[in-house]
């Protein structure tokens, strides 16, 4: 077990190029300087962490690989896959022309992405300092890979923290689909701090869907940074189901003219879960477009947070930016917080946002019941219908069915238990 200190850092540094080592030392300095985030900070409002990173350790060796599960088995057709267990790369398989391998290995060939900066927060600093390994995926220019790459990130050991680094680059005019699963078994209190960085070269088309299915004690604090080039298309899919706390801090920058980003997905919190989405879309290039579309539900005492900032910089003329966040609150004790935001420093743009938080609507309920559906069945049908719009927009069709099953099962179980 390795503590988060300079000894550990130097051990990790022994194997990496000097440039990477010095960036790590800088990150460690930030780590020492920064406090654990508190709910008093705007960007961490509503979130009680309940642990101290300093007290956690990095596993020295990986535990047992987890069984497959519904989401993975639905992804039978793959271009390649990579498995990380407790911070170590344990398996790679690649049937494509893309480069898929260990991030540490890739660092020898080219420097890691630097989209995430260590001053972001203590978790970002820790991720940049202590990441022992990760996965690097590079799609060569002009190549289109049709089947998805599957990156299965697991955390299996209690009281540990891992910092998987996921570096995805789609070069000029390439095309690829990626699915990242973040998982842990129930009852294992572990913390995963993935650092996901995606670079979409000009004219490239990339989608990255994260499937958050940590167990009931698991915590994920993910940073996702993406940078989108000229006429490039990026789609980020989000399926948020697991974890005691699952946070995604996604910042995407539309740099080149004509680039576009779509963030679509769904989340469903139960019991004491906190699902925390912090999204920033930064329009820099001209004629860029963004569309954020997230639908979520909470039941029991679960809480969700959505803060979405559309920032349109001076010079980003011809921008179109939209943001929608709809929430169903299914139990009295549950709470959804939704805060869409605009920061517009430029004229000549089209912009819109919509957000809603509330229970199932009464008129559709009455309509379904007037066809003879019992109240419970009508509720199930409405919950299913609520998510359907988001499921239909997920970037990977193979994930539709397991996502649908998961949300339906979650609500049906709450009904059976009399919790909703």
């Amino acid at each position: 077990m390795l503590s988060l200190n300079s000894d550990t850092l130097e051990r990790l540094n022994a194997a990496v190029p000097a440039s990477v080592a010095s960036r790590r030392r800088e990150a460690l300095r930030e780590y020492g300087r920064l406090d654990m985030p508190s709910p008093k900070e705007e960007n961490w409002k509503y979130v009680t962490l309940g642990f101290d990173l300093d007290a956690m350790t990095i596993p020295a060796a990986p535990g047992d690989t987890l069984p497959e599960g519904d989401f993975l088995s639905a992804l039978s057709h793959r271009a390649g896959s990579a498995v990380m267990v407790d911070g170590r790369l344990t398996g790679i398989e690649n049937h494509s022309e893309a480069w898929l391998g260990s991030a540490a290995e890739a660092w020898g060939a080219y420097p890691p992405s630097d989209l995430l900066t260590p001053d972001t927060d203590k978790f970002a600093a820790a991720a940049l300092a202590f990441s022992s390994d990760g996965i690097s995926l590079r799609i060569p220019r002009n190549r289109a890979v049709e089947a998805p790459f599957v990156i299965d990130v697991q955390s299996t050991l209690p009281d540990t923290v891992t910092f998987p680094s996921l570096d995805i680059r789609a070069e000029e005019n390439s095309e690829a689909t990626v699915v990242v699963l973040l998982r842990s078994p129930d009852e294992v209190a572990s913390v995963m701090v993935p650092n996901l960085q995606t670079t979409v070269g000009s004219g490239a088309r990339l989608s990255v869907t994260t499937v958050g299915i940590m167990g009931n004690e698991g915590v994920t604090i993910m940073h996702h940074r993406s940078r989108i080039g000229r006429d490039a298309t990026f789609r980020a899919g989000e399926i948020g189901l697991g974890g005691r706390l699952a946070r995604i801090d996604l910042r995407t920058t539309l740099e080149g003219a004509g680039g576009s980003v779509e963030v679509v997905g769904l989340y469903f919190g139960e019991m004491e879960q906190v699902l925390d989405y912090r999204l920033v879309v930064n329009h820099v290039g001209r004629s860029t477009s963004s569309d954020v579309f997230l639908k979520g539900a909470v039941e029991d005492q679960a809480q969700s947070v959505f803060t979405g900032l559309l920032r349109i910089e001076e010079g980003a003329v011809g921008t179109s930016a939209f943001e929608t966040n709809r929430n169903l609150v299914l139990s009295d004790g549950a709470k959804a917080n939704s805060v869409p935001n605009l920061e517009i420093l430029c004229n000549d743009i089209i912009c819109g946002h919509g957000s809603s938080v509330g229970p199932l609507e009464t008129e559709p309920m009455y309509y379904l019941m007037s066809r003879g559906l019992s109240r419970q069945r009508a509720e199930r049908v409405l919950v299913r219908g609520f998510f359907e719009e988001a499921i239909g927009r997920l970037p990977v069709d193979d994930l539709d069915e397991p996502a649908r099953q998961a949300v339906n099962r979650r609500f049906a179980e709450a009904q059976e238990g009399g919790r909703v």
Partner: protein
């Protein structure tokens, strides 16, 4: 033959606004009754109150095939055999029509194959194939919504069907189809109450009785000739014949002006 729908002394209000002022009605099995009346006279409210809309409080009695329904939840009433085709059905995004019909069948214990057979048959009749996999009433034209409603009645084949202006907004061919479907449904297992503003549909399917509602009451009933009289003389003429002079007494109470848009009577 028994009575599909029987209503006695039905009164209803929303909050402190009284809308139905005592309705008596009998629709026997095998019969089709037309219900006419000016805008705002309470026809749709009657349907909603009978079907158990949660906004209304009701007094009085109503039976479907001899079973009292007023105290029941909306879904129980539907499963007892009381179903309406809505005048303005709400959109239910994400839930498609075939799915709704399958759920409705499953709730009634109808086996899935039989349900699919009924769906296919009704879908052929009302050209609903393009709409089966689409969200209910979402982005449908006015007439398409009406088709969807009558299609559902046809699949669910209730004992008492309330058709609330199902013929409004339909093209000529579709009005004929609805009329012939009603003609067929009007069998020993069903009684139909058809609300309409147009005597056109009544020339394709002749009602056994015509009722006229004003101010939350049925003010007169008669044979098919009554619809023709209305067509000729309008409600104003009928009021004169019946000697209804004091509309404010018959109109629903109005606590504030914005409750009331279409005045059924001159004030």
């Amino acid at each position: 033959m028994g009575v599909a729908l029987k209503v006695r002394g039905l009164q209803a209000s929303v909050g402190s606004v009284k809308i139905l002022n005592g309705i008596d009605l009998d629709v026997p099995f095998g019969e089709m009754h037309a219900l006419m009346g000016p805008n705002g006279s309470g026809k749709s409210t009657l349907c909603h109150v009978l079907c158990g809309h949660p906004d209304f409080t009701a007094e009085g009695e109503a039976w479907v095939d001899g079973r009292e329904v007023l105290g029941l939840e909306a879904d129980e009433r539907a499963r007892l055999g009381l179903v309406q085709a809505f005048q303005s059905p709400v959109a239910v995004p994400g839930v498609d029509l075939a799915e709704l019909m399958r759920e409705a069948a499953e709730e009634r214990g109808i086996d899935p194959e039989e349900a699919d057979r009924r769906i296919a048959e009704a879908s052929r009749r009302f050209d609903m194939a393009p709409f089966l996999e689409r969200s209910i009433n979402d982005d449908l034209s006015g007439g398409e919504k009406k088709r969807s409603e009558i299609f559902q009645i046809s699949v669910l084949s209730p004992k008492a069907a309330l058709l609330d202006e199902t013929d409004s907004g339909l093209d000529i061919d579709m009005v004929r189809k609805v009329a012939s479907a009603v003609e067929e449904m009007r069998g020993p297992g069903m009684g139909v109450l058809m609300i309409t503003h147009h005597s056109r549909i009544l020339s394709y399917v002749e009602p056994d009785r015509v009722h006229v509602m004003m101010g939350g009451r049925i003010v007169t009933s008669g044979g098919p000739g009554l619809a023709q009289e209305l067509e000729r003389d309008g409600y104003e003429g009928l009021r004169k014949r019946l000697g209804i002079k004091t509309p404010s007494a018959a109109a629903p109470a109005r606590p504030s002006s914005d409750f009331f848009t279409d005045l059924p009577f001159e004030v």
